[in-house]
Symmetry: C2
């Protein structure tokens, strides 16, 4: 069916908020990569590379990362509880996975993993998550504050839906940002109020910049309702210092903003001198309690060392709202009934993994640390390689799963992009894809200082592939510069 202005639904007659929404992580370049992948299958040898390497998205298991055995054991037993009555199960499964599955099942009414749960998620699992948060932070957490979600995204949408009444409501978002935020703000009809991270100081978050942008937005009649902070940063990989976090909390408190803390990379820290602190811990350590600050912390099972993207689990911890507003948050969650139970179970496991003395503890630690140490090595190798490229500078990935190098493009390349009707960084990324099979996301998908060009590249390809990626990237970059050199 072609475009037809008389059809019941045309692009001209759909909700303009949908048209406005963009999500570069799965945008044009990925569609093109999928086409090339099909071409490789139907016509091998027709391209200058053998495989497409998807560095566009934080999807570790798609690139060969193995799931944590204990987590999958518990999941399989919970999915098919009849196994727990068979003698062979003790041969196939670790003893603590069996015990954990039994404990989880006993916390589910009727042991029914196929039933809708409470709209916030199964109470016993929320208890386990609250315990995990309390152990992490050293401050109490409450199961009633946990809303289990299908990944972190639905929780972000839930809050945007709650806060945004019209274009006159704004959300302060970092630039560069993870485009879920710009997409969700567009879909809910609000205004993204940008604050720029300072690339020169390792993507520093300056309070003066927050203040300037807040005042600027207010002077335009925008009611700024919340501040989004992504820590560790996506796509920028920085880890905030405790002092900086305190300033941010103080800023939100003084300005009457909700603090939306994207903390999904809390386990992904690769440098010894940085440590993850949740914003809730920071706020409580400053003496701020429930009454003082509306704060939402997002966590996801898709990230960390677990990388269980396909299981779609996560939670938001909602504190500092009145009970009447909480009822509204609950109501919206209840329209979708509940998040998937397998994801709920995994969320409880990542916040309460095996402990010293458990049968799986040693193998669990070996799997976990193997993944995290390898990610740190990959981050360093790619960062060094990028910094060795002419005209490219790349901040350290202190955390998260990405590098976000700046590429200084020659004028001729920018003109060639203009002729091809592409943004210059999209033109670069597309050329990279067509030469090497490596898929990265242009910086314009995340936002960047005008006139600068970046791309986001994950650190997720398996370690044995990194040298080849580096040599292909290096060769491509040299030839690209040579082609367009001013």
């Amino acid at each position: 069916m072609g475009s037809d202005a008389t059809a019941p639904v045309t692009v001209e007659s759909i909700n303009p908020k949908v048209l406005k929404c963009e999500y570069a992580v799965r945008g044009e370049i990925v569609t093109h990569a999928q086409r090339l992948q099909q071409q490789l299958q139907t016509n091998p040898g027709s391209l200058p590379f053998d495989e497409i390497i998807y560095c566009n998205i934080g999807n570790p298991q798609s690139l060969g990362q193995q799931p944590i055995t204990f987590f999958r054991e518990v999941l399989a037993l919970s999915d098919h509880p009849a196994l727990l009555e068979k003698p062979e199960t003790s041969i196939l499964f670790s003893s603590d996975s069996i015990a954990r599955a039994q404990q989880i099942l006993s916390s589910i009414p009727g042991k029914a993993t196929g039933a809708y749960s409470h709209s916030q998620g199964i109470k016993g699992l929320r208890d386990a998550i609250a315990e995990g948060i309390a152990a992490r932070d050293g401050f109490p957490a409450n199961a009633d504050d946990i809303f289990l979600t299908d990944g972190a995204s639905p929780g972000v949408h839930n809050m945007m839906q709650l806060l945004l009444r019209s274009e006159s409501d704004g959300i302060l978002c970092p630039i560069p940002q993870y485009p879920l935020y710009s997409a969700s703000i567009a879909l809910h009809g609000g205004t993204l109020v940008p604050y720029y991270l300072d690339e020169a100081t390792g993507w520093g978050l300056e309070i003066s910049e927050l203040k300037k942008q807040l005042e600027d937005a207010r002077s335009k009649g925008i009611t700024v309702r919340a501040l989004v902070v992504i820590n560790p940063g996506n796509p920028t990989g920085q880890v905030l210092a405790e002092e900086n976090q305190k300033q941010i909390v103080e800023f939100c408190k003084n300005e009457g903003l909700v603090l939306l803390a994207d903390e999904v990379y809390q386990e992904n820290i690769y440098v010894d001198d940085k440590k993850f602190n949740s914003f809730k811990k920071i706020a409580r350590s400053m003496g701020y309690g429930e009454e003082d600050l509306p704060l939402v912390s997002y966590q996801s099972i898709s990230k960390g060392y677990y990388g269980e993207c396909g299981k779609r689990g996560g939670y938001m911890e909602v504190t500092g709202f009145s009970s009447s507003v909480r009822e509204q948050i609950y109501k919206v969650a209840s329209v979708n009934l509940c998040s998937n139970i397998s994801g709920q179970i995994l969320a409880s496991l990542v916040m309460n993994p095996p402990k010293l003395g458990d049968a799986s503890y040693e193998s669990y630690v070996a799997e976990r640390d193997g993944i995290l140490k390898s990610l740190a090595r990959r981050a360093k190798a790619l960062e060094d390689a990028l910094n060795n490229l002419e005209g490219v500078t790349c901040n350290k990935a202190e955390g998260a799963m990405y590098l976000f190098p700046q590429v200084r493009l020659p004028e001729k390349a920018i003109e060639a992009a203009k002729e091809a009707k592409k943004a210059p960084d999209a033109f670069y990324a597309l050329s990279l894809l067509e030469s090497t099979g490596v898929v990265v996301v242009p910086g314009s998908g995340f936002g960047q200082v005008p006139g600068t060009y970046h791309f986001r590249c994950t650190i997720l390809p398996q370690e044995d592939k990194i040298p080849a990626i580096i040599s292909r990237l290096t060769a491509f970059h040299e030839s690209f510069l040579n082609k367009y050199r001013d």
Copy 2:
């Protein structure tokens, strides 16, 4: 934290669309039931019943329905593929579940059930679903038209978001309706255009009523964009006749409406003289192709004989839209990355269950038919019991999982409700809960002809509980009438 007008977020300062949204299936009465359940735990014997029986929601496994063994076997093996390499697995699992898991895993790139999939879902699973649809309908189906979703609800939201630009856009919805539709329309800022089902003819859907309501809405300046049809009906349980469906297709075609076909109860048919026909089959059998009619069919793993609510799987089959509109639907799906893979796998299984000759076939059929036949008996027993109550009439549940009896309330009861600041049917349902522990949803949550009162009651309690429910319901109803008799 109490209500505080100076707080950053108050009920007065949130998005009014959120305030307007209502979802009675998990509303006030369920919250009250949960309180009573806690009271029973902490203070047994303090209430005139021993347990709460949740008849408010189509959640079969929460009331003891067992999952289909084959489905759970495949799921457990897909969650923990290492099992496939162990010799004990052939003792614990059926041979066809092992083969099916291997086939499914081989269709997933890298066998990674922990990776985000394509935004529409894993291609191999969509192929299986398209085959299942084609076998069901006798007309071809295309994997590219399938969007796998976390239950049916996100697919409904996706289409409402696409179609609704403002309050001037309307959606024709049946009254009574499943409140997901009213909730989603409210959240997306559109207008619900009601059409009334005719209780006197077994909740008949009259084209004259559709026309009348459409014209009435148009005369008020509403652009009606789509027609929602729920078949089998929720909460009303009727199954549409083929002739009626043809009229509906013709109506949508002539009036330029998208047909949103909620077909999640397609396997739940309890009478011999009715048969489920998908609207796509009807449209194709009338000679209408892809060009002629935008049509979305919703299916869910939560219903049928499988009842896998907690796994959150489902799909929408999207046909008859231009490629440019399809791109927009895809884009919105991609913002949330993908639906959960376990739910995707289950959706492929329910559309392609074991076949004659497969090792599990006989036990599968026994489980399936055992559930469906029992549901039919339960529907009949409850329907008869309701029709035996003074002043109550109840149409047959030809399909779905609900009865929706009309209760003629005495004037004094209506006055007592007014005094208690409750809708009369909510007052009745609350009294029923407090006397018997049985949770039903007041008809006002679904919509009803003004001045009539109904409630929705699922047919899902296990069969051995039905006699007790009937006797408690009967005793309650008599004493309620005696108390308020005019």
